[in-house]
Symmetry: C2
DNA sequence: GATAGTGGATAGTGTCACTATCGCCACCCT
DNA sequence: AGGGTGGCGATAGTGACACTATCCACTATC
């Protein structure tokens, strides 16, 4: 265990915690107080750390999703199960109670419906993604940045292109467990990476469009240093 | 205050909490125990809720980023300040200590460098995004899904296209505070939406490619119901 | 003048990820 | 053989965090 801790950089008590929580299988016991951990354990431990720290999953979500990944299903179902077990980035609330008596209630779900139809996407009726998207759209609308299906289509097309890249990554793999694990990694760990890429691209695009005339509206209070820091 | 609570759906003690934490400006006091809250307060409160619940920001991060947004800068600097104040999705660690004596140390930062150069992006040297991206790539490599600059280029191009859409949203706005707030909303709240769109597109793409022959490798233990959970 | 409800302060609650400690017992070395 | 070393398992604790409950003084309103 000390070797596992040393090689992973995870403190021993934390490893014990993960064992207790069922995120790690116990090692092969060589004695009543001695156990051997294989290379698999190291891989798994690193995966757990990546999912919790980077992916921001709770330990409960991590356990769930790792259990789901253990099941050898096809590529299609694996993704579905993964998405269901993740149930983030937004906890789906099925569009119920609105604080004010406004009509904000089911406008979002309808918009989601319309978008899915317009894109010609195959998304199961029970998929938690529908609710998650609706929640996100509702929040955007509440802060005055409402998006309808029309405005979302370009974004959805880019998402589709991204998804094609993702699925290409899974194409070469044959073993179903490996597929599942890779799908999980792709879905969860690529998300912050993609978000960061988007932010970088935003900075670049803003520089390209506005850097020269940064003080266009009202000048006077500009700081030095550009976008950094 | 009770009206503010009623209209926003946020309980009064929580509003008090936000006031105490400086996320909300106090209302205009009409008496020693009475205050009036304008429409602005409602907007702000909704924004805070959206950032914390959907965007997953801590109240400290929310306060920071809202303070930054209060400064009337240009579009370019506004985005930079926003990104700096966010400092998520990944806390940047500048690539130091590796658990094992491996060469994993600075490979990621070099890869980031290469990608930025290859894309021709303008990203300031001090931008926290560089570190964040490096951290993400390192995590991916640690779980056996290493990406180099070459593999990332297609993703980066899609991110660039997304960023162009984003910046188009800001084009029409003139007031600098509004720009800042909109930029914040775009960056933070669109992230879960885009992530959800990507997952939806993944499900669709997986269905398109694999749904018919879901039991291709080894059949037998397939559940009914497809991808929905 | 009774009631309701606000503002402000203090302290408490629940959750969550992680960690310190303790007794036990195998292993190793002499 | 026997004692030191140190891993193992379980229990309980720590600290951070986001709220939330309670209390009190006071004022607007009925």
């Amino acid at each position: 265990m000390s070797e596992l801790s040393r090689r992973s950089g995870v403190p021993i008590p934390t490893i014990k915690f993960y064992l207790r929580e069922g995120l790690l299988r116990p090692g092969r016991a060589t004695a009543s107080n001695q156990a051997e951990y294989e290379e698999d354990h190291l891989r798994r431990l690193r995966l757990v750390r990546a999912l919790t720290t980077l992916g921001g999953l709770s330990v409960a979500a991590t356990r769930e999703v790792l259990e789901a990944v253990g099941e050898p299903l096809g590529r299609y179902k694996t993704l579905g199960v993964t998405h269901y077990a993740l149930r983030s980035p937004v906890t789906a609330e099925p569009d119920g109670k609105d604080p004010e008596g406004q009509d904000t209630a089911d406008g979002s779900t309808a918009e989601v419906e319309r978008l899915v139809e317009r894109m010609g996407w195959t998304v199961t009726e029970q998929s938690p993604l529908r609710g998650a998207l609706a929640t996100g759209l509702r929040a955007l609308r509440e802060v005055g940045a409402g998006y309808g299906a029309d405005e979302l289509v370009p974004y959805a097309e880019l998402a589709a292109a991204t998804a094609r890249l993702d699925l290409d990554q899974l194409a070469g793999i044959e073993d179903r467990i490996d597929i599942a694990e890779r799908a999980l990694v792709l879905t969860v760990l690529m998300e912050p990476v993609l978000a960061t890429l988007r932010r970088m691209a935003q900075e670049n695009e803003a520089a390209r469009r506005y850097a020269d005339r940064d003080g266009d509206d009202r000048s006077g209070d500009d700081r030095s240093g550009g976008a950094g820091g």
